[in-house]
């Protein structure tokens, strides 16, 4: 393929987040016959959120496999396939259902490499559509990524843009170990620049979405996007916010956060998962334990999900997770010293 022509096209090309994921899946399957898709309604129906789309027609039913409704079965089959050298990519239809697959993910996928002294590995990818905002209530709206970030042996990604969704999925498929990718349902339709070639976004490296000097706002997935929008409004109010998109919460790019806090002296961590015992607590503690502690000029503030199941009522549902207004208010308080 003439690469110059490809570049020229990719400069202007915009895809939705869902299309970017689909493109990555297609390119990975084209490049490596060991890669196959596995999940409920990923085949003929094209996926509950339309992510796999027409892939079943391009690669056939042997490589895009509709499974029975059994998350434990899907996950167990994927672990077995991965150990034998395949590269399974499975979709958990709603990330909430992953509770049924915990044994395979936490006790098997995460541990096998260590239990067998490196003689076996589990190169599998799990895609998990998650998050609230679709009116799907408490059992279809959760953000459970922190659970898995607690498990050594798993990698946990939360891409926020179509570009990262594609690049990180390809990097995850390359990875010799299990990787979980939490995709926020509200991001599937968002659009962004996505190069056509099969590029990789490195796992474990955060992105500075906006540079600033007064306060560091750390978030991932949809919260990184909300933080960016909030930073725009904060700038109009004379507050210079630096926005860090974590992209990966395990491994976490602590260096980028620390360098930013060293500069801004203030940290706001935003995440949709329940605030208590969440990602924000971990980041806050990491900063407090580090030498960057001496550069803090205000308490570290967490903005997290309410300590409640996600409500069905759309007004309450919105109120249960941090919104752009909340980020603007929290960052303003932090910088203007009204934080307590």
């Amino acid at each position: 393929m003439p690469s110059d022509a490809l570049d020229a096209v990719s400069e202007i090309r915009e895809l939705s987040y869902a299309e970017a994921v689909r493109e990555a899946l297609g390119q990975a399957m084209e490049a490596d016959e060991r890669v196959f898709l596995f999940g409920e309604d990923v085949g003929v129906y094209g996926g509950a959120f339309g992510v796999s789309g027409d892939l079943v027609h391009r690669f056939g039913k042997d490589r895009v496999i509709d499974t029975p409704i059994s998350e434990l079965g899907i996950a167990g089959a994927a672990v077995g396939a991965a150990i034998t050298g395949m590269r399974p990519v499975l979709e958990i239809q709603f990330s909430d259902f992953v509770t049924l697959a915990m044994e395979q993910l936490v006790n098997q996928a995460a541990k096998i490499r260590f239990m067998f002294g490196g003689k076996a590995s589990v190169p599998m990818v799990v895609r998990l559509p998650g998050g609230s905002g679709t009116g799907a209530a408490a059992q279809h709206s959760q953000s459970l990524e922190a659970w898995f970030a607690h498990v050594p042996g798993l990698k946990v990604l939360q891409p926020s843009t179509p570009h990262d969704a594609k690049g990180m999925l390809l990097a995850a498929i390359d990875d010799p170990n299990p990787v979980l990718i939490f995709e926020h349902k509200l991001l599937y339709k968002t659009k962004g620049h996505v190069p056509a070639e099969a590029y990789r976004v490195p796992i474990g490296k955060a992105a500075i979405r906006r540079e600033g000097t007064d306060v560091t706002i750390v978030g991932s997935s949809i919260m990184a996007r909300k933080a960016e929008a909030a930073a725009e409004r904060l700038a109009a109010d004379g507050i210079s916010a630096e926005v860090i998109d974590l992209r990966s919460i395990r491994p976490i790019d602590f260096t980028t956060i620390a360098e930013s806090v060293r500069k801004s002296h203030r940290l706001l961590v935003v995440y949709e998962g329940v605030k208590t015992m969440g990602i924000g607590a971990e980041i806050s503690a990491m900063i407090s334990e580090s030498e960057v502690f001496d550069f803090l000029d205000a308490p570290i503030i967490r903005l997290g999900g309410a300590d409640a199941p996600i409500p069905y009522n759309p007004v309450l549902e919105k109120a249960a997770v941090p919104q752009e207004d909340d980020i603007v208010a929290a960052a303003t308080n932090l910088v203007r010293r009204g934080e307590a």
């Binding site: 002296h265 502690f293 001496d294 550069f295 000029d297 205000a298 009204g338």
Partner: protein
């Protein structure tokens, strides 16, 4: 937790303040922002507002007594809090005396309402503490303007910018602590900071010159002996050599107005009264209590006053007024076996007299080498207002008076 009401720092160099009047009494209900007392500094009286809403309890400080900045003076109990006596820092309200009078040229510091926290409950961000460490700054001197009086970076930086006379000249600023620091770092005490600032300023702005005279002390010694007997009869403490020299200096200063003078901008202030400061040490700090109107005192009066000042200093009951504002200073290190030394002028004064020990030395008298008790006197003068000849004349009169004290009568 009851909210502490402390004596706030309302002026840049303020170390102590006096509550002039309480506007509330024990048990009164106050609203945040109500005036609760008036604080007096050497410049003004300012109103202090309640930091919280609740009942005033445990008013600890009487009016008119100078106390340290940051001392808790009362507590405000919030609604529903039991009015028990809270744990208080020991000696919280002990009167203190600053080394020297507060400088008269500083701009007022930030907010009167902001409550500077006491050391035990000092609130400061890690960054504020770090910057303070690097600048050897005592955070107790910084007023916090953050939530609950928390000291932040902005407060420390503002304080450092306003820190008087320090920024422009590097060598007198505390060296930043670079990397791993050796030994123990002790931040300046309030008194040490004032001493450091004033003496640095003196060395920087006053061109010092020094005249030394070796003076025979036989007659002065004899006189001290006779005075001791007389004092004993009338119930006055034994006079010391320092007091005798102060008495002699006070007498001859009358004839040397330029030595009993101060620098005031580009003018010389000639003082009518002779107020002699005596440099003393208290717990490692330099303090200079002043013999007011020393020119009008006889030996018994001066001996009594000197004893009173020394006692008050030890008990820390001297007021700032008693510790500042002299017109001339005497520093005697003879009792430590020092032969002679030069002293730094106590600004804005024009001169200081440094006294070494009295020791028998061979001297020539009438063609013979004889032993006589001799002592070195060194006058440091500010050449802006004192010329060499003026200082020399003073030293000549000092020699004559000490060697022939009867001439003073």
């Amino acid at each position: 937790m009851p909210v502490e009401v402390i004596l706030p720092k309302v002026d840049m160099d303020m170390e102590t303040g006096t509550i002039e009047a309480w506007h509330v009494k024990e048990g009164d209900l106050v609203r945040q922002g109500d005036t609760i007392f008036e604080i007096g500094t050497n410049k003004a009286v300012m109103e202090v507002e309640a930091p919280a809403t609740g009942a005033i309890r445990n008013i600890k400080v009487e009016t008119g007594v100078p106390i340290s900045v940051g001392t808790p003076v009362a507590w405000i109990y919030l609604d529903g809090e039991a009015a028990t006596t809270p744990s208080e820092p020991a000696a919280a309200a002990a009167p203190v005396a600053a080394a020297t009078a507060v400088s008269k040229t500083e701009a007022p510091a930030a907010s009167v309402i902001a409550v500077a926290p006491a050391s035990s409950s000092l609130r400061a961000t890690p960054l504020a503490r770090r910057i303070a460490r690097q600048n050897a700054l005592d955070l107790k001197t910084v007023t916090g303007t953050g939530p609950r009086g928390r000291i932040g970076e902005v407060d420390v930086k503002r304080h450092l910018e306003q820190r008087p006379r320090c920024a422009p000249v590097q060598e007198t600023c505390p060296a930043p602590v670079a990397g791993a620091s050796e030994g123990r770092l002790q931040p300046f005490s309030a008194i040490r900071r004032i001493v450091a600032n004033r003496l640095s300023e003196s060395m920087r702005s006053a061109p010092h010159f020094y005249l030394t005279s070796e003076i025979e002390m036989s007659a002065a010694r004899d006189l001290l002996g006779r005075l001791a007997k007389r004092h004993e009869r009338v119930g006055v403490p034994k006079p010391s050599l320092t007091v005798l020299i102060a008495r002699v200096a006070a007498r001859i200063l009358r004839d040397h107005p330029v030595i009993n003078a101060s620098v005031e901008g580009e003018a010389t202030r000639f003082h009518e009264r002779i107020d002699i400061g005596i440099a003393m040490e208290r717990d490692g700090d330099l303090v200079v209590p002043v013999l007011r109107d020393a020119g009008g005192m006889d030996m018994p009066a001066m001996t009594r006053e000197f004893a009173r000042l020394r006692g008050g200093m030890a008990k820390r009951t001297l007021t700032p007024a008693e510790l500042g504002g002299g017109t001339f200073t005497i520093s005697n290190l003879g009792m430590y076996g020092v032969d002679s030394f030069t002293a730094i002028i106590n600004p804005p004064q024009g001169a200081i007299l440094a006294i070494g020990r009295t020791i028998d030395k061979p001297v020539g008298r009438d063609g013979q080498i004889v032993l006589r008790p001799m002592a070195n006197f060194t006058l440091s003068s500010d050449h802006r207002i004192v010329d060499g000849v003026a200082a020399a004349r003073f030293m000549a009169d000092l020699r004559e008076a000490l060697e022939n004290p009867e001439l003073l009568l």
